[in-house]
């Protein structure tokens, strides 16, 4: 099915049966704490929760693992970027104490800026950042795996999004098989004329894509014309405001319980995030201090995590 293109599988799990509004609430209740939390320990716990939720929704660990492989370049980039430039961040992001340096990523003689000192703090921060990406990506994937196109349309209707936008999105999903066949057809047609797109240079690759992308686009725009005529011919636009919808979503018992739980979780999550700033709890710096203590790197003032030592 076309919707399986973006991960939806029509299964019968607890999460599949929820109202789409609750499904989106799950997404936000997982990603908002990820955005506001800083501490890799908390983030790892959140990640474990997502994996568990995904498993209940019948996303296998193997598929999830394969999917995460695509993130490896991004994870590596984040790691190196944070290790390189952590020192350049100003006061609000880094601790006020002297960092526990471990090694130089760039030898000193090649320095053009004060970057490349790998410290325990930068490693902890970077691991939190990597956790965060994984959480956001997996949350999105979870949402799509349990939310059908019909769910999305019903949700948008309920949120009173204008029918033009709702219809466009509905049509986009409905027309996916045609778009896919179109894309395949064009690629095959060009391959049959000896076309191949192989280049290490991304700009060259874009240029080489022109013989496939231009016909895909022109054919798509031609089809759009016919599609528009067909949509018009079915009375679209008669009265967008009073239009009825076959599928109406309504909260059931389990939706209410789940939604209440999620709201509570979001509020607690934001409170934790605030505490990180205000009190130093659940902040990566607190975790760093614990690690420094365990590794014998100091400082001695564990009870004043943000205070100078």
């Amino acid at each position: 099915m076309a919707s399986e293109l973006f991960g939806y599988r029509p299964l019968n799990t607890f999460f599949h049966s929820l109202d789409p509004r609750v499904k989106f609430a799950i997404f936000f209740s997982l990603t908002l704490p990820a955005v506001s939390w800083n501490d890799p320990i908390y983030l790892t716990a959140l990640l474990a929760a997502i994996l568990a939720i995904g498993r209940i929704a019948k996303n296998s660990f193997r598929t999830t693992g394969r999917f995460l492989l695509y993130l490896v370049p991004a994870l590596l980039f984040l790691l190196v970027y944070n290790l390189l430039f952590y020192e350049s961040s100003i006061v609000s992001a880094r601790p006020s104490w002297n960092l526990a340096f471990l090694f130089y990523l760039i030898p000193v003689k090649f320095w053009v800026c004060p970057c490349g000192h790998v410290s325990l703090e930068s490693l902890v921060y970077a691991s939190g950042a990597m956790d965060r990406i994984i959480i956001i990506v997996l949350s999105g994937r979870f949402l799509l795996s349990v939310t059908s196109p019909a769910d999305l349309t019903s949700l948008m209707v309920k949120l009173r999004i204008p029918s033009e936008i709702t219809t466009a999105i509905n049509v986009a999903f409905g027309f996916l098989p045609v778009s896919l066949a179109q894309l395949t057809g064009v690629v095959e047609a060009q391959r049959a004329r000896g076309w191949e797109a192989k280049s290490k240079n991304p700009v060259t690759l874009v240029r080489k894509a022109v013989p496939t992308i231009v016909p895909v686009i022109t054919r798509s725009l031609t089809r759009a014309e016919f599609l528009a005529a067909a949509i018009s011919s079915r009375g679209y636009g008669f009265d967008p405001k009073r239009r009825t919808y076959l599928r109406e979503i309504k909260f059931k018992g389990r939706d209410w319980y789940t939604f209440s739980f999620l709201i509570g979780f979001i509020l607690i999550g934001q409170a934790i995030g605030a505490a990180a700033w205000g009190l130093g709890w659940a902040d990566y710096r607190f975790t760093t201090l614990i690690l420094r203590h365990l590794l014998g790197l100091g400082p001695p003032c564990l009870w004043h995590p943000l205070g100078p030592c």
Partner: protein, 205 residues
């Protein structure tokens, strides 16, 4: 009671739907070069977004971004950060389209896209550094993209090369038969908001 005036006609709906569907497919199939951050893939979504804006106006471009966000790695969080680009392009597009000289059309389109992309970038920097906190500082990211050139050049190629090609070879497809009220003000507002968002955090990090 008179029905309300439609926001989009069926042509615009279809164009946005079809191009949005292509962007869905592109993301879902990973038809891209891996980027250095999630949501930063060198795929052709930018081309579809631009063409949808050209053919169907800013709402068309916005619909493509909504559809793209379903399969984007950063999900719906990235959605509004495309919009300054969409509005900026829409603001100048009719003028570009009406130019008589093909060369001037192409140059005009590339220049407008380059500026729009530059504006768009800062919104994404804001998202990655200040919202997602993927990194502690924005400036090396900016240097990598703009001074390092390759990422910016690649995205510019994506946003400008193919739509520009369509503009020149098949202009009927992208004739701007649309109107968007208060476009000037909406564009200005979106750019100013991006600038404020970045500036408010820039001093801290």
């Amino acid at each position: 009671m008179m029905p309300r005036k439609p926001l989009l006609n069926t042509r615009q709906i279809s164009v946005a739907a079809v191009l949005g569907g292509l962007s869905l497919i592109t993301e879902a199939f990973g038809l891209s070069l891996p980027g250095y951050l999630p949501g930063v893939n060198f795929n052709l979504v930018g081309a579809y977004l631009s063409i949808a804006t050209m053919a169907a106006g800013p709402l068309g471009g916005i619909i493509v971004t909504i559809l793209d966000s379903f399969t984007s790695s950063v999900g719906f969080y990235g959605l509004p950060f495309y919009w300054p680009h969409v509005f900026f392009l829409a603001l100048f597009y009719k003028r570009i389209y009406s130019m008589k000289s093909t060369a001037m059309k192409v140059v005009g389109y590339w220049v407008v896209t380059a500026v729009a992309l530059f504006i768009q970038y800062w919104g994404w920097f804001f998202l990655y550094v200040y919202v997602f906190k993927f990194a502690t500082t924005i400036w090396p990211l900016a240097v990598y993209n703009f001074v390092g050139v390759i990422p910016y050049a690649t995205f510019l190629a994506i946003y400008a090369l193919i739509p520009g090609f369509v503009l020149v070879t098949a202009p009927n497809f992208v004739r701007p038969n649309w109107n968007f009220p208060y476009l000037k003000w909406v564009t200005a507002a979106s750019i100013i908001l991006s600038a404020i968002a970045v500036a408010s955090q820039a001093g801290l990090r």
